[in-house]
């Protein structure tokens, strides 16, 4: 089969599954999830086929698989839709397909398929006592639509199609965060997520429009792999002083990433998005959708870095990106340290890790960012699914013991390693990967590469910020593992937890394999001891996506030692701090950090800040100023005055002009039409034959007129 055909076919099965479920299959839960999983499995199969096929292509980056059709004609040119399969999209497809499949399967178990429906359950609320989700089919429809959006985004060959997939995912995210719309918090979270990301999207659309106006095309190949276009863009001064056009476009597009990938200051929606079902958190808010922001800036990497040469000074745009990423990484990590909710920790961790990638892109470490993107998708999906499994197990215990504890609060857990061995071991692997446990895990290799890159190119500030974030990461990861799995149960409910079904644990195992193993494809050649045993395939392959193949960095022991040190140190600290915690005891950090702790616990009061700074002023503006003063007093008063005067003028016109003159003419026309109609209506006898006869007579007359006139 031709590769471009495969690429076209990949996104189709999920959207077909979505349509089939929404239109017909929604009555049968079994059929619905069969369709959804079948659809995504076909996509997965095709993606793997494509992946394997492209591995064999020599110099694949220079000869990607492309195919496009004209879609919307716009004057001389036309907007096109098409697919682009180059190393970057292949890698993207690889992790997206795997995580999609794993999470789809996981959802079956998570939504209690196979259990009796509980008559007490209502739509819009999670099932109370382990019955099957009342809106089971709808969930699968939504995630199928989401899968379509993600695959479109990954495969698109231009920014417009990418944006379509982007927005499609935004919609699905909105729908799925508010999946349990019966809960007020979920409703607020969905609106918050939607509006926050919309801020970024508006700027992104601006960037797209600016790019289109500058180049007349949105195709990646035509812009990014065209030296001339890039040079022109880089040398054209933008409307905002000090930036080149490329810089401004990159910055605008990057704001889209800030929204989508939850970077500071638009990060506030992501923790709240944990209101959705856990598979959604894993799928959308850890593995794929938030990664899409990173994927997008990787995609437009040549544009972002236009005017920059490897090893040279950063452009202003890159500086902004690097700074913002590093700051976010550190900032979110500090918040994660003080969270109690198992999913919230992971949410801030996600923000932090995404900050890593953004920082990596900012310092020009393309391959390292892509590498971390993939490994992070695997281990973060694994962690989320693991946490879902934990919550599921604890909820089960809550139902059994009727104890009122929050099933997501880590301080209520403990000792789950015996109850849920599979979940524990896979979660442990995921956690180690996240904290960058040396040598063994994928997270180590990818994170180390970012750090090494930052260090090698002299971005010291970024390097130390990221290193500090890594330390915190290891710390809160170990804190989480210790609180959840180690020690003794701190509540009765946890004592009654049990392992989840195979549909939930099997994806965990699969993802755990990737969380560990995927790092080995990207071991730097220069690494002492291990380097060169396995070829640095990832660097070779993904690096080929750039016009200029990035050089491998020389080995330097400093960043390695730092990263090993912070990982092990953080883990050790975490374990030491939390290993003996008792039920009901406060967080030992609270004592340690003193007044800082509440700040962290409340996420630097960002929600409150936004509330005071934006939401309330907006309300005030709307209510007091706009409505009461501007609208009621000024505009209404004006309108009333105009109205009264108009009435007077109108009355005059009516009595003097309208009634006698205009109406008279109108009435006369009407009446005469009516009377003439009365006279003519005898013609409409309702007798077909009469009509036909008249028709024939007149046709004959006309024909004979022309014949005679012609003769």
């Amino acid at each position: 089969m031709q590769l471009d055909l495969i690429a076209w076919l990949i996104p189709l099965p999920p959207i077909l599954a979505f349509a089939a479920i929404v239109l017909w299959a929604y009555r049968s839960n079994r059929l619905s999830h069969g369709l959804a999983i079948g659809g995504v499995a076909i996509s997965w199969g095709l993606a793997m086929l494509l992946f394997v096929q492209t591995l064999g292509i020599e110099r694949f980056g220079e000869h990607p698989v492309t195919s496009s059709v004209r879609w919307l004609p716009t004057g001389q040119s036309a907007l096109e839709i098409g697919v682009l399969v180059d190393p970057l999209s292949t890698i993207g497809l690889f992790f997206v397909a795997w995580t999609l499949l794993a999470i789809f399967v996981y959802s079956v178990g998570y939504h209690n398929f196979g259990h009796q429906a509980d008559p007490q359950d209502v739509k819009g609320l999670p099932p109370k006592s382990g019955g099957i989700e009342p809106m089971y089919a709808r969930f699968f429809a939504f995630i199928s639509l989401f899968a379509f959006g993600m695959l479109v985004l990954v495969l698109s060959d231009n920014l417009l199609l990418l944006f379509i997939g982007w927005e499609l995912m935004g919609l699905c995210s909105y729908l799925l965060i508010g999946f349990w719309y019966g809960r007020p918090s979920a409703r607020e979270a969905m609106v918050k997520a939607f509006l926050t990301t919309r801020v970024g999207d508006v700027f992104m659309l601006l960037g797209i429009a600016y790019l289109y106006s500058q180049t007349g095309t949105l195709s990646f190949r035509q812009i990014l792999y065209n030296e001339q276009v890039l040079n022109t863009l880089a040398s054209t001064p933008a409307v905002i002083g000090g930036l080149s056009a490329a810089g401004l476009i990159g910055l605008l597009l990057f704001i889209g990433t800030i929204g989508k990938s939850a970077q500071w200051p638009l990060h506030v929606w992501l923790p709240d998005a944990m209101e959705g079902p856990t598979p959604v958190s894993a799928l959308i808010h850890a593995a794929t959708m938030v990664s899409a922001g990173i994927y997008m800036i990787l995609r437009i990497f040549p544009l972002l870095t236009a005017g920059w040469h490897e090893g040279g000074g950063l452009t202003p745009t890159m500086m902004v990106i690097a700074g913002l990423g590093a700051f976010t990484a550190l900032f979110a990590a500090t918040i994660a340290v003080a969270q109690k909710d198992i999913k919230r920790v992971l949410a801030y961790s996600t923000i932090s890790q995404l900050g890593y990638m953004v920082a990596a892109v900012g310092i020009g470490a393309f391959v390292a960012a892509a590498f971390h993107l993939v490994t992070h998708a695997f281990f973060k999906a694994l962690l989320f699914l693991g946490s879902g499994s934990v919550i599921h197990g604890v909820e089960h215990g809550v139902h059994e013991t009727h104890e009122h504890v929050d099933p997501q609060d880590m301080f209520n857990m403990g000792g789950l390693r015996h109850k849920m061995p599979v979940t524990f071991w896979t979660f442990l692997l995921g956690g180690l990967a996240l904290s960058g446990f040396p040598i063994l895990t994928a997270g180590f290799w990818s994170k180390d590469e970012i750090l090494a890159d930052a260090f090698a190119h002299g971005h010291t500030l970024v390097f130390w910020m990221l290193a500090l974030a890594a330390l915190l990461t290891a710390f809160y990861t170990m804190r989480q593992i210790t609180l959840t799995f180690l020690g003794k149960p701190r509540s009765q409910a946890v004592g009654h937890a049990h392992e989840s079904t195979w549909t939930m644990t099997a994806p965990l195992v699969v993802l755990a394999v990737f969380a560990v193993g995927f790092g080995w494809v990207g071991i730097p050649e220069a690494f002492p001891g291990l380097g060169g045993i396995l070829p640095n395939w990832f660097h070779e392959f993904v690096g080929g996506a750039l016009p200029e193949h990035p050089a491998a960095i020389a080995f330097d022991p400093t960043p390695l030692l730092v990263s090993v040190g912070v990982a092990l140190g953080g883990l050790l600290l975490g374990w030491l701090t939390y290993r003996r915690i008792q039920a009901g005891a406060p967080d030992p950090l609270r004592r340690l950090l003193g007044p800082v702790y509440p700040v962290l616990e409340n996420k630097y009061y960002f929600d409150e800040l936004y509330d005071y700074a934006i939401v309330r002023p907006a309300y005030w503006l709307a209510e007091t100023f706009t409505y009461t003063f501007l609208d009621r007093r000024v505009i209404d008063g004006l309108l009333h005055a105009i109205g009264r005067n108009s009435l007077r003028v109108g009355a005059f016109l009516r009595s003097r002009i309208d009634l006698p003159v205009v109406n008279g003419i109108g009435d006369w026309i009407g009446e005469s039409t009516k009377s003439s109609g009365h006279q003519i209506r005898v013609v409409q006898s309702g007798r077909v034959q009469q009509y036909l006869l008249v028709g024939i007579v007149f046709t004959g007359l006309i024909i004979s007129f022309f014949l005679l006139a012609g003769a």
Partner: protein, 102 residues
């Protein structure tokens, strides 16, 4: 031999007779029959032109066959309509079927 014009005159006759029937008969079934007459005149014309034109080019016969198909459809649908109207209104006189009149 027979000149082509003979066929044409006969076909024209059939056609005008059919036309008269369509215009003047009261009964809808009779109108239908008259339409069949007109269609037959058309077919006769087609075949005659085919025969005197290019018999090797078979298109005249092909068109005749297609007109057959059209005639069959027309008869079936027309009769169904007439039966349906008859069932509702107990009349088949074309001039009484004027429900859509103003």
């Amino acid at each position: 031999m027979i000149p082509l014009s003979w066929y044409l005159i006969l076909a024209a006759g059939l056609f005008t007779i059919g036309l008269f029937g369509v215009l003047a008969r009261r009964n809808a079934v009779a109108i239908l029959m008259s339409i069949e007459l007109m269609l037959n005149a058309v077919i006769l014309n087609l075949v005659a032109f085919w025969r005197y034109g290019q018999p090797v080019d078979i298109s005249g016969q092909v068109f005749a066959i297609i007109v057959f198909a059209v005639a069959a459809s027309e008869a079936a649908v027309g009769l169904a309509l007439i039966l349906s109207i008859y069932r509702r209104r107990s009349t088949v006189a074309a001039e009484d079927i004027n429900m859509l009149k103003w």
